[in-house]
């Protein structure tokens, strides 16, 4: 009654077989191919490569600051009034500040605080934001969605810098509290992003398939949905590193973040600003360092976005 064209009947035993070594080799090759393809896409844009190079350079400088910096002692409480306020020279490439500290060394140490700021804030913010967005997106239309997203909206409706300033000014001004303040204003952005993605992904057939097979909610959220938003999340993280560092520096600039004599870049700009324009190097070089670090992360973020969008095509 149904079709007449009959394929050859298969034998009951397994027709194909393969050794575990062979399987492992194929797995490795697939990995290598994926990496090669990704790098090709990424490297097509020289700006992305530049961004990655900047980020790597800054990270290395931050880690090895005591070795790289010409005058590591200058990052600690230190004064040398004999060589105060010297313009850039071979000895002090970025010049010295009003109490004789080498600005280059302090900038290199300043990267440390900026990076710590960015990493700690995002490490706090991303898991929380992603988790809330994931749950709210998956349970879209239920009370969970309503509660989570309205709270998110409330946080989003307050101007972020003002919120951070308010929180930081209530607390004791130091780096830890500055990070806390920025974290409190930052998580809703991730919730929004992930919420949007999750509410689309939950209707994809592979998610429906997992549901009809009987998979648990945990599996669906973490193994089916989450891996498919890794790309936009990482792109956002990279772009946000720059932003968080700027906000952190802003807080330091107004005295709510890193406290002198610790060499925060924002703090250095603030204390150097008094000597503008005559002794411009005291404020300008730390400011340029901020530009440098933010630029690096932004270019990297753009590159990642291109990479991920190409991967999907």
């Amino acid at each position: 009654m149904s079709a007449q064209a009959v394929p050859s009947t298969p034998s009951p035993e397994i027709r194909h077989s393969i050794s575990p070594e062979e399987l492992a080799r194929i797995k490795r090759e697939n990995r290598r191919d994926q990496f090669g393809r990704a790098w090709y896409k990424f490297s097509r844009n020289p700006l992305s490569v530049l961004g990655a190079a900047i980020v790597i350079a800054i990270t290395l400088m931050a880690i090895f600051a005591p070795i790289i910096a010409p005058y590591p002692k200058h990052a600690e409480p230190f004064t040398d009034f004999a060589s105060a306020s010297q313009p850039p020279s071979a000895e002090h490439l970025f010049g010295t500040d009003e109490i004789g500290r080498d600005i280059l060394s302090r900038c290199i140490f300043g990267f440390r605080y900026s990076l710590v700021m960015g990493i700690v804030v995002l490490a706090l913010v991303v898991p929380v934001g992603v988790f809330l967005g994931l749950v709210a997106g998956y349970y879209q239309g239920t009370w969970i969605d309503t509660v989570v997203m309205r709270v998110t909206d409330i946080f989003l409706s307050v101007p972020p810098l003002i919120l951070a300033l308010a929180i930081a000014s209530v607390l004791e001004p130091n780096l830890t509290n500055a990070m806390l303040a920025v974290s409190l204003m930052w998580w809703p952005w991730y919730t929004r992003l992930v919420y949007g993605l999750a509410s689309t992904l939950r209707n994809e057939y592979f998610v429906v398939s997992a549901e009809t097979v009987g998979a648990g909610t945990g599996h669906i959220l973490l193994r089916e949905i989450l891996p498919n938003m890794i790309s936009p999340i990482f792109t956002k993280i990279s772009l946000d590193m720059g932003w968080v560092i700027i906000i952190g520096s802003t807080l330091s600039f107004v005295g709510l973040g890193v406290q002198p004599p610790t060499p925060g870049l924002g703090t250095m700009v603030a204390s150097g600003a008094r000597f503008l324009p005559d002794q411009w190097w005291i404020a300008i070089f730390p400011a340029l360092s901020i530009v440098f670090i933010v630029l690096g992360f932004n270019l990297l973020g753009d590159g990642l976005r291109d990479l991920f969008s190409a991967e999907e095509a």
């Binding site: 394929p7 393809r37 090709y40």
Partner: protein, 343 residues
């Protein structure tokens, strides 16, 4: 018909794409032509190069990554690949119109049908640019009436979302014909629609192009649609034109093993079971097989097929041509014919 000059003549066209890991040799020296007033089908499966061909004709391939190492595309005797921007705009405005598969994405959802139709008419040519508003509106109304849409006045003020899929496809056809083009390229028209609606749209399209004596290229992967609507068919496989024949003859007596395989794979309304299809898959464009690109899947592959790219041979007469070594010698053609009779 062969005494005429073709309105579109593609000669030995190759298109390559530079990508990660090498070069995709997508089009591999294709020949293709359309005579005035002729309805030509271009059939092939996903990834065979149909869309690349179409984009090359309109010169909308992004370069890079696309590279055109050789070949020419003559539209009314002028090489599209070397045209000035000005002439190119004229050609796209007045010479060639497109009908896309999905009428929903072909129309801009934020403008009314009237606005879009009038913009198409206005920008078709410098003369139209000087027409008065009411004259253009008049032409838009006419265009809608032609595609059998009642109440054009109301339609002109409607947004695409207010229309059904079938109506949208009719609007797209009306829009394509509104500039009075000489060549119409229809890319899978109606495939996104339901079969009863698709049938209506295809009959309408056919009636209009017959009335207006337009040349048409119908690009599709559905053999049945080609059989219903075209005069002559090109069959494309992996960036090669493998066969061309008058439609009737192609369906009665497909010559190329790929065409034969494709026809056999179509499930029949008359029953008879489902064929296995063609074994294997379309080759990679990065390392296409040497010789005939089909030899890896061909049931009749011979040693020569692995060495040389088959030239075009004639079956019966000039109108039926096939790129396959099976037709190299007259006795082989004879053998093939007997086989056909036996089947």
């Amino acid at each position: 018909m062969s005494a005429q000059t073709p309105i579109l003549d593609i000669k030995n066209l190759s298109v390559h794409f530079r990508v990660y890991g090498g070069v995709l040799k997508v089009l591999d020296g294709i020949d293709f032509h359309v005579f005035p007033g002729e309805k030509v089908g271009l059939v092939g499966e996903t990834g065979c190069g149909k869309t690349t061909t179409m984009k090359a004709i309109l010169r909308v391939l992004p370069t890079p990554p696309a590279v055109i190492p050789n070949g020419e595309i003559l539209f009314k005797g002028q090489n599209v690949l070397k045209m000035s921007e000005r002439k190119l705009l004229d050609m796209r405005g007045q010479g060639i119109s497109m009908i896309f598969q999905d009428p929903t994405s072909a129309l801009n959802p934020v403008f009314t049908i009237g606005q879009q139709l009038e913009a198409v008419i206005r920008h078709a040519s410098p003369q139209n640019h000087r027409l008065s508003r009411s004259a253009i509106e008049q032409r838009a109304r006419l265009a809608l009436r032609e595609v059998a849409l009642a109440d054009p006045d109301r339609l002109l003020n409607s947004y695409p979302i207010q229309l059904s899929g079938g109506m949208r496809q009719r609007v797209c056809i009306g829009m394509a014909l509104s500039t009075d083009p000489e060549l119409l390229i229809a890319d899978e028209p109606g495939t996104a629609l339901d079969v009863t609606i698709q049938d209506q749209v295809l009959r309408l399209l056919q009636r209009l192009v017959d009335e207006k004596q337009k040349s048409v290229i119908l690009i599709t992967h559905t053999l049945g649609i080609v059989r219903q609507t075209t005069d002559r068919v090109y069959v494309m496989y992996a960036g090669n034109m493998v066969e061309v024949a008058p439609t009737k003859r192609l369906f009665a007596k497909p010559a190329h093993p790929y065409t034969q395989g494709l026809m056999a794979a179509v499930p029949r309304l008359s029953g008879g079971g489902i064929s296995e299809g063609i074994p294997g898959r379309i080759p990679s464009y990065m390392n296409p097989p040497v010789g005939c690109r089909f030899h890896t899947r061909c049931p009749y592959a011979m040693p020569v097929c692995e060495r040389l790219k088959p030239p075009v041979f004639t079956v019966d007469d000039e109108a039926h041509q096939v790129a396959c070594f099976l037709y190299d010698a007259p006795d082989k053609v004879q053998a093939y014919k007997q086989e056909q009779v036996a089947v």
